[in-house]
């Protein structure tokens, strides 16, 4: 167990898997000589060589297509799309090929493929470079979508993803790379598709994931000082969505707030709330609240950008609102 950053945890997962399995390789823009635009693959090119750490043209469809094709031949590519905003340039491949080929050809083809990408706002990169469109990708059966919120989960889930025979979109958060946490050494695996109780509490259930896990924990710390015990469920995977711990918690607290960084409309919160109403209506003591990004293209100006992004205070307010009616 060591206290390392999210960046180091992700890097460690890939390094260990590449050492373990020759069929694992990396491809993407600036993953090699540059060392990764977020420095996640720093040192990989020198150690593993250009054949296994492949720099690509700035051509997202070519990146996903090449990774997909290589995965069909039995290799385990880890394709990096520099940010999730650029994944739209390969959206057709992701939804029409990656998510469908196993099913459409009746299981003949396997796609042991990981697409690593980075989402999230808060870095003043403007509307086109700051999006959190996770829910869009989670819409498609056939694709698995995960977004860890801690360094330990990042390592364990990335290793699980690389070993999986299913295609997995692995969404990191642009402002979490420096986050530190305890991470088990060596072979540490966190299963894909399992949500978890991140913090136990009796009064209200907060359902969240990725960066908003940290925001929710900070909110819970504040609320604890006022005697409100928040139970936080970290979804970790959006598809498959594991409602087990969410339902269990909600049946205990009877109150829920869902916190996500993406826009509220048609989002993760909409889905989780709908399922709570469908599957646990008898346990609802107050209307479920959603905390999400204000519905605007994210502005550049720091103050305006922060106004639009969900903050600790928003979570605190939402929790009080569901509890006080």
């Amino acid at each position: 167990m060591a206290r390392i950053t999210m960046r180091e945890a992700i890097s460690q997962a890939m390094w260990e898997e590449m050492e373990r399995d020759q069929s694992v390789f990396i491809l993407g823009e600036e993953v090699g000589v540059w060392g990764g635009t977020f420095a996640v693959t720093k040192g990989f090119y020198d150690h593993f060589g250009g054949e296994r750490v492949k720099d690509t043209p700035i051509a997202e469809a070519a990146i996903i297509g090449a990774a997909l094709g290589a995965s069909l031949t039995g290799l385990r590519p880890v394709a990096e799309i520099m940010t999730i905003n650029f994944a739209f340039s390969s959206m057709d491949h992701i939804v029409n090929e990656v998510a469908k080929m196993h099913y459409m050809f009746a299981g003949q083809m396997k796609l042991p493929l990981v697409i690593r990408t980075v989402g999230g706002g808060g870095r003043q990169l403007g509307a086109t470079h700051s999006q959190t469109p996770d829910a869009i990708f989670a819409h498609f059966p056939g694709l698995k979508v995960v977004a860890p919120g801690t360094p330990a989960d990042a390592k364990g889930m990335l290793k699980a993803a690389i070993r999986s025979d299913d295609p997995i979109l692995f969404i990191e958060h642009a402002t979490l790379y420096q986050m530190r946490g305890e991470v088990p050494d060596g072979d540490y695996i966190v299963p894909i598709g399992k949500s978890t109780v991140s913090r136990p509490g009796r009064d209200v259930t907060v359902v969240t994931y990725s960066k908003m896990l940290d925001t929710s924990i900070k909110a819970a710390d504040q609320l604890a000082k006022e005697g409100i015990e928040v139970e936080i469920i970290d979804l970790r995977s959006l598809r498959p969505l594991d409602m087990g711990p969410v339902l269990e918690s909600f049946k205990k607290t009877n109150h829920a707030v869902i916190v996500e960084e993406g826009w509220k409309s048609f989002g993760v919160g909409s889905e989780v709330a709908a399922r709570l109403y469908e599957e646990a209506f008898d346990y609802v003591d107050a209307p479920i609240k959603r905390v999400a990004q204000t519905e605007v293209p994210l502005p550049y100006n720091r103050t305006l950008e922060q106004m639009a992004l969900p903050q600790v205070a928003d979570v605190v307010a939402a929790v009080k609102e569901v509890l006080n009616g």
Binding site: A66, G69, G74, H93, H102, M104, A106, M109, G142
Partner: protein, 319 residues
């Protein structure tokens, strides 16, 4: 190529023709749903190309894939059953006409989004390059696909990485109903390869032997480490883009003119002129192909529908 090989190829071409003629009838009877894109007129292209491959060479194509499937060794039964959506189809009734595949025959589909399979072909070739295998990936696509971004990203990547892939543009003069001249900045598609520094060739695709000889040479060059090659094959589809195409974009006289150049007739003549086989022997192949297709219709019609459990199978490998 010996006599039996010639007769096999001839049989495949006739089989494709008959199979698609029957498919068109079954479509009109409502037994085949969705889209049905016929390959009739273009049979010499895939037959010649695929005859030139070795078993380790991968084939991937677009949605006009019935002929390619037969040439890759899929049985008429599994193709016809897939067209009828039956459990015995090559994709167990879940793919349909546009999504035929048989990985065991190194046929990787059947892809219905125009151009989308080109980057996948680059990836298949990358897989062989990475593993040190000596397979060549043959990627077939229409003229219309050369105007979409996928084409340019994939062809560029293949040259940058020196991938073992043969790009084959089947130029049948129309992308749906739009002529090449109205959609492409250059009407000789092979010119597009020049911009990527890829050696390219342009041939007419009505003579199966011409296609075979060219493909064999290029596949050998690629296998020897020469990197990607580009082959434009000019051809013509005798039928509409898909069933129900009103064909307002071309005159029937034009279609008739091309039909005089039927690739099956040309091959028949080649075989007889060169004393490879007699007319009687060719007629016997016609009968055999007809019987295979007839049997495939009976097989497909009597095959079971996929059960309801099939609906939820193969969404993921790991539940």
């Amino acid at each position: 190529m010996d006599k039996s090989e010639h007769l096999r190829l001839y049989n495949e071409m006739v089989q494709i023709r008959r199979l698609e003629e029957r498919a068109a009838e079954l479509y009109q009877q409502g037994k085949i749903g969705g889209f049905l894109h016929l390959y009739i007129g273009q049979e010499a292209v895939s037959t010649g190309l695929i005859a030139a491959r070795k078993p380790q060479d991968r084939v991937i194509t677009a949605y006009r894939d019935h002929g390619v499937a037969i040439n890759c060794g899929l049985s008429a039964n599994s193709v016809m059953a897939e067209l009828l959506g039956k459990a015995t189809g090559c994709s167990r009734g879940k793919g349909g006409s546009m999504h035929l595949a048989d990985v065991s025959k190194n046929f990787w589909g059947g892809h219905a989004i125009v151009g989308a399979h080109l980057p996948i072909a680059a990836g298949l070739a990358l897989g062989d390059q990475y593993s040190g295998a000596d397979g060549v990936t043959i990627c077939m696509f229409g003229d219309g696909a050369t105007n979409i971004g996928y084409f340019h990203e994939a062809v560029n990547l293949s040259k940058v990485w020196n991938l073992p892939v043969l790009w084959v543009c089947e130029n049948n003069l129309y992308g749906m109903g739009t002529t090449v001249e109205r959609a492409s900045a250059v009407s000789e598609i092979a010119q597009k390869a020049v911009g990527y520094g890829i050696e390219n060739h342009r041939i007419v695709g009505m003579d199966v032997m011409e296609v075979y000889n060219m493909a064999k040479q290029l596949i050998d060059e690629i296998r020897a480490g020469g990197g990607p090659r580009f082959l434009e094959i000019v051809t013509y589809r005798f039928r509409g883009h898909s069933m129900g195409d009103p064909e307002r974009y071309r005159k029937q006289e034009e279609v008739h003119k091309y039909q005089e150049n039927d690739p099956i007739g040309i091959y028949r003549k080649f075989i007889m002129d060169n004393g490879i086989a007699s007319e009687e022997e060719l007629n016997a192949e016609d009968d055999k192909a007809e019987a295979i297709v007839q049997a495939s219709v009976e097989f497909a019609e009597s095959s079971p529908e996929p059960g309801p459990e099939e609906l939820f199978q193969n969404i993921y490998v790991e539940a």
